[in-house]
Subunit: 187 residues, 2 copies
Amino acid sequence: MKVLLGISNRHVHLTEEDYKTLFGDEPLGVVKELVQPGQFSSDKKVTIKTEKRAFDGVRLLGPLRSYTQVEVSKTDSFGLGIDPPIRNSGDLENAAVVTIVGPKGEVTKPCCIIANRHLHINPQQRQELGLVGVDKVSCIIPGEKATRFDNVWIKESEDYTLELHLDTDDGNGSLAKTGDEVEIIVQ
Amino acid sequence: MKVLLGISNRHVHLTEEDYKTLFGDEPLGVVKELVQPGQFSSDKKVTIKTEKRAFDGVRLLGPLRSYTQVEVSKTDSFGLGIDPPIRNSGDLENAAVVTIVGPKGEVTKPCCIIANRHLHINPQQRQELGLVGVDKVSCIIPGEKATRFDNVWIKESEDYTLELHLDTDDGNGSLAKTGDEVEIIVQ
């Protein structure tokens, strides 16, 4: 079966408290709605900083969440000189420490992960696609650098719609792009 | 069967003429022998430059060759703002234009590619491993970001020894590292 692909560049999620520390009373604006319903690319950017290096212009995704999380690629992590764990979103066990800098302040906390490959799906779609009881799938990318990505975790929520997320390392290595329709198979 | 893996960071090969333009009469020294017999990491670094960005400290590999070639990852190419083709080493058809800067001068030419995944092998090893007549293999990386890389081109020469080369996008996406022993299968 084919699903829509989205490639995630490094980005940040913030709690309301951390947002206020970084941006004060500035309202959080929407630049672009994302494929996942209710999620958006915001009008705010931050700097992600470690002792080794800083990345400017890292996008804050909205809405605000119950946890602050920085998602980077393995390539980014070498640049930053940190070793973040591979995690599902929201699981910050042993997350790497980074500093997030905004115009009004900064926060330093263990919040940086490399996200697992994952497939957003809602319960209806999971039923229709025969993926009930399946935890992980593989994703097939054709082309000059054809690749099969395993361990794509299924993330189900009523709020989701069918979309597969890879990070920029996987996307660039396989030459896959946001908007591609890619084949998934049960592992 | 298992083979040794090497992850190639961005690097440069130079002709003798281009070497002289960049480094004048400085001798080319060896910092470290590579796995491929006769190949070495040299004591020289260059800057790779486009209108958009420059990467400093890019390693020159030796010995000098009959062609000048810059090998980058897709991630690097976005940073440089260029669109290099996926090529086997030495095939510079439609290569992207970059400027290579050394202490004594610079050269600007269409020499930048993204290297195909490839397996170095000598004729004896190819025979022993049953790969005579096989052009491409796949490589299996286990782990949290388990991946199967297809279209790994077999490059045979008497001068080679068995080693599989991936670029940093593929290596970082799959968490594979130089020195890993990885499984290959015939596609």
